[in-house]
């Protein structure tokens, strides 16, 4: 049963990401992106990452996706109803991307990763993440807070009417 759910989520992610990449309607692409984000949250649950799954839903679906929808709504004339988007150089792009992904797969798949067969049993991750955040990753944590403040001020300044 869990195996079946895993492959359903796997297919959901690939299908909705394909709609993001190949779709003709920008609004459809954004809603497909929601499917991808929710699917990735499901994958996190299969990977024993409970904290990350919730963070993924809160930040990506609740924050970034809403920002993207705002971005589309503010930069298109809604009255035209058809918000289409076009792509350029599809053939060349497809060729380059297929080359890159085949290089990745041929490099990664034959390699025998240590312990790749024996996964870690489920354990709560919130306590461990909190502990690491304030010990080994304290500098990174502080830099992140400064970066977020900078992004907040920068975005608010850039988005003002009178720049």
């Amino acid at each position: 049963m869990a195996d079946f759910i895993f492959w359903v989520i796997w297919a959901l992610i690939v299908a909705s990401a394909a709609l993001v990449a190949f779709g003709n309607n920008l609004i459809h692409s954004v809603f497909a992106l929601m499917g991808t984000f929710l699917g990735v949250a499901g994958i996190y649950i299969f990977l024993n990452a409970d904290f990350l799954a919730v963070t993924q839903i809160v930040v990506y679906v609740g924050g970034i996706l809403v920002l993207l929808v705002f971005g589309i709504m503010l930069t298109n004339k809604i009255s035209t109803a058809q918000i289409s988007q076009s792509s350029v150089q599809k053939g060349l792009g497809l060729l380059v991307v297929l080359g890159v992904v085949s290089i990745i797969l041929t490099a990664v798949l034959p390699h025998d990763w240590v312990g790749a067969i024996a996964p870690l049993a489920f354990a709560e991750t919130v306590e461990g993440i909190g502990r690491l955040l304030f010990t080994d990753y304290l500098i990174l944590f502080e830099i992140a807070s400064v970066l977020l403040l900078g992004a907040l001020i920068g975005a608010a300044t850039l988005a003002r009417k009178e720049l």
């Binding site: 993207l68 990763w113 970066l147």
Partner: protein, 101 residues
């Protein structure tokens, strides 16, 4: 679901679709969506290696920081896109080749 490769293949597919979106789209918001796909692919890899190979939480921590970075990037990039739209009346990145006109 109990093998690393199924996650690595998923991540590679997600990355390639994101890369395709970034290189072929002309709409700036669509390109941002491609960047989010690429960041999600990287996150899946970090967490998968954390579970199957290193058996610790370092990969989770990096993923938290990537999610944080993605949120900051989306906010600033959309502010820039709004300015581009106010300035030009469109957000076609192929024609955005000057800082001011």
């Amino acid at each position: 679901m109990d093998h690393l490769n199924s996650y690595l293949v998923l991540s590679a597919i997600l990355f390639s679709l994101g890369l395709y979106t970034v290189v072929t789209r002309r709409n700036a918001v669509a390109i941002l969506m491609g960047v989010e796909l690429i960041l999600n692919a990287a996150n899946i890899n970090f967490v998968a290696f954390s579970k199957f190979v290193t058996h610790n939480l370092d990969g989770h921590l990096i993923s938290v920081f990537i999610i944080m970075l993605a949120a900051a990037e989306a906010a600033v990039a959309l502010a820039i896109v709004l300015n581009l739209y106010n300035d030009r009346g469109h957000i076609n990145v192929d024609e955005a080749n000057a800082l001011k006109q």
